[in-house]
């Protein structure tokens, strides 16, 4: 035991007292900050309750349910063709991509497969939904960080993609185009040429975003090293899509599962980034938009001819059974677990949507970050409220 003199003792006590005085003076009372349910950074009606110590987050909790519309229950009282109208609106930016897993699950139960041309057009629309979805993120991430301009570019170039959707399906937003056994209609005349032009535009838009935003020093300092998700943690929380690929996990359902859709016929790449921070998530999504445009161009070049609808009965009844089908949607893995009892509508539908799992990491991720970074992290996780609450 160290020998201490009286002088050392009193010096120690004085130091402690001084320390305590300073700490008491600088101590801040904890504050609870409520973000939402109506807040621009939550793109809709997510509410996040944040407990702050000074400017640092001690504890955060997302409160969802403000956009709960009861899809799973509504699907039980609709017939199969009516269900696609509803599930279009789950992830309202990735409209067409929502229909595909449900239709594939129903086709799996009925034991029919759409003809090749229908599968190729489905893949084209799937990737167009990805462009329409992610291009808005590419602009929106800028506006969350204080850069107003990119969102105008994003809206401008997104319109061209939506016009193509409208020309082919009749709906700018919710095409409701996918049918069991094929598609509603064939592509209109001249559509393919126009699509080529728009894809060139999309690729140049991605380049523009890269030049405008990613090289910006402010953007880099606000996103690099912010909200780092290690791969192991991300997998534990069930993240999917670009969020997990930005943590270095090379996992994409388009490539990794045997799907009837036409991705296997093209040459494309799954992009990953080792960092796992907000910058990486932005970068991965940007590359994915480029890849989507590349996939569409290749599919347009090799579009097979033939019918677009397999033979299906006029009144669709799905034989009893259970099916699970999931695809790589713009926001991540989206799956439908379909239970049929042989009726005209599903008996039970379980929807696995990507955003619900993607925001479940928010309490873990927000602990210890500063308030402005909360916005960055929420923006970079990129969720759609309909996809969270369903």
């Amino acid at each position: 035991m160290a020998v201490t003199t009286d002088w050392q003792k009193s010096a120690y006590i004085a130091a402690q007292a001084a320390d305590a005085r300073v700490n008491v003076e600088l101590e801040t009372e904890g504050m609870t900050l409520n973000l939402g349910p109506q807040h621009p950074a939550t793109h809709g009606t997510l509410r996040i309750v944040v407990r702050l110590d000074g400017e640092q987050v001690v504890w955060a909790e997302p409160i969802c349910g403000y956009m709960h519309r009861g899809y799973e229950k509504l699907c039980e009282v609709r017939t199969y063709p009516q269900v696609t109208t509803l599930i279009n609106r789950i992830d309202w930016l990735g409209h067409f991509a929502n229909e595909v897993p449900f239709i594939l699950a129903a086709e799996q139960l009925m034991g029919i497969e759409a003809p090749p041309r229908a599968q190729w057009i489905r893949t084209i629309f799937f990737e167009m939904a990805r462009i329409a979805n992610v291009s808005l993120f590419l602009g929106d991430m800028g506006i969350q960080l204080g850069a107003i301009t990119p969102v105008f570019y994003a809206f401008r170039d997104r319109e061209y993609v939506l016009n193509l959707m409208e020309a082919a399906t009749g709906g700018r937003f919710h095409p409701n185009f996918d049918r069991i056994g094929g598609l509603k209609e064939d592509l209109p005349r001249g559509w393919v040429d126009e699509c080529h032009g728009v894809m060139t535009r999309v690729i140049s838009f991605c380049q523009e975003m890269e030049d405008l935003l990613m090289g910006n020093e402010i953007f880099q300092t606000r996103t690099r090293g912010i909200g780092v998700i290690p791969a192991a943690v991300g997998l534990e929380y069930g993240l999917s899509g670009a969020n997990i690929r930005a943590s270095g996990v090379d996992w994409d359902l388009r490539r990794d599962q045997d799907s009837p859709l036409a991705w296997k016929h093209c040459d494309w790449k799954v992009w990953t980034h080792p960092d796992g921070d907000s910058y990486a998530r932005y970068w991965v999504r940007l590359q994915e938009t480029r890849e989507a445009a590349r996939i569409i161009v290749q599919l347009l070049d090799g579009l097979p001819s033939g019918p677009i609808q397999a033979k299906v009965p006029r009144i669709i009844k799905v034989p009893p059974g259970e099916a699970w089908c999931h695809t790589e949607n713009p926001l991540g893995e989206m799956g439908f677990y379909l239970v049929s009892k042989g009726g005209r509508g599903p008996f039970r539908v379980k929807i696995r949507s990507a955003s619900f799992n993607n925001i479940s990491i928010v309490p873990w991720l927000l602990r210890g970050v500063y308030v402005p970074d909360v916005i960055t992290i929420l923006a970079s996780l990129y969720f759609i409220l309909g996809d969270i609450d369903r």
Binding site: P37, Q38, H43, G44, T45, G65, Y66, M67, H68, R69, G70, K73, L74, V77, T85, L86, R89, W92, L93, L136, V151, F152, F155, R156, R158, E159, R172, F173, H174, L385, G386
Partner: protein, 164 residues
């Protein structure tokens, strides 16, 4: 100044300035929020040329609110509360089928069947979702109403329906 009305030239001037300085509070709830964003934030539709300013900091600075999207029972109390925070005279545009009447969720257990159950609505814009042009037309019709505004008529509560 009889009947508490302003003289005609003065009220004309006041209405003109109110009409072209509408501050819109964006109430993006669901899918329609993206079409509203396209109408307000995109260069193709560009709502500012109509004299509508879409970025107030809070509901306390807004004259007009666009309720765009599904109103759920959980969201209804905050909507009512934010509407109460807006200063008079205030206007409400209900955008999309969900906000008008429940839309495709007419039989859902958690959806409010129309925002007009909780706040009075001036303009209904039908569609699922309506095109940005439809929203712009709703705004233009509302501006016409503001120009010839007669408070007595307004409080009778006949709403505008776009396209009807």
């Amino acid at each position: 100044m009889e009947k508490g009305l302003l003289p005609k030239p003065l009220s004309h001037l006041l209405n003109l300035s109110r009409k072209y300085s509408l501050w819109v509070y964006q109430w993006g709830l669901a899918c329609c929020a993206i079409e509203m964003g396209a109408a307000f934030g995109s260069p193709r539709y560009d709502v500012m040329r109509l004299g509508v300013i879409p970025f107030p900091a809070s509901a306390r600075q807004a004259d007009l609110v666009v309720v765009s999207g599904t109103v759920t029972d959980k969201m209804a109390p905050p909507i009512r509360r934010l509407w109460e925070q807006m200063p008079d005279p205030k206007y409400v545009i209900s955008m999309g089928s969900c906000a008008n009447c429940g839309g495709p969720y007419w039989d859902s257990y958690s959806v409010t069947k129309g925002v007009d159950q909780i706040i009075p609505v001036d303009v209904y814009v039908p569609g699922c979702p309506p095109r940005p042009e439809a929203l712009l037309e709703g705004i233009v019709l509302l501006q016409e109403r503001i120009q010839h505004e007669d408070m007595a008529e307004r409080w009778k509560g006949d709403p505008i329906v776009v396209g009807a």
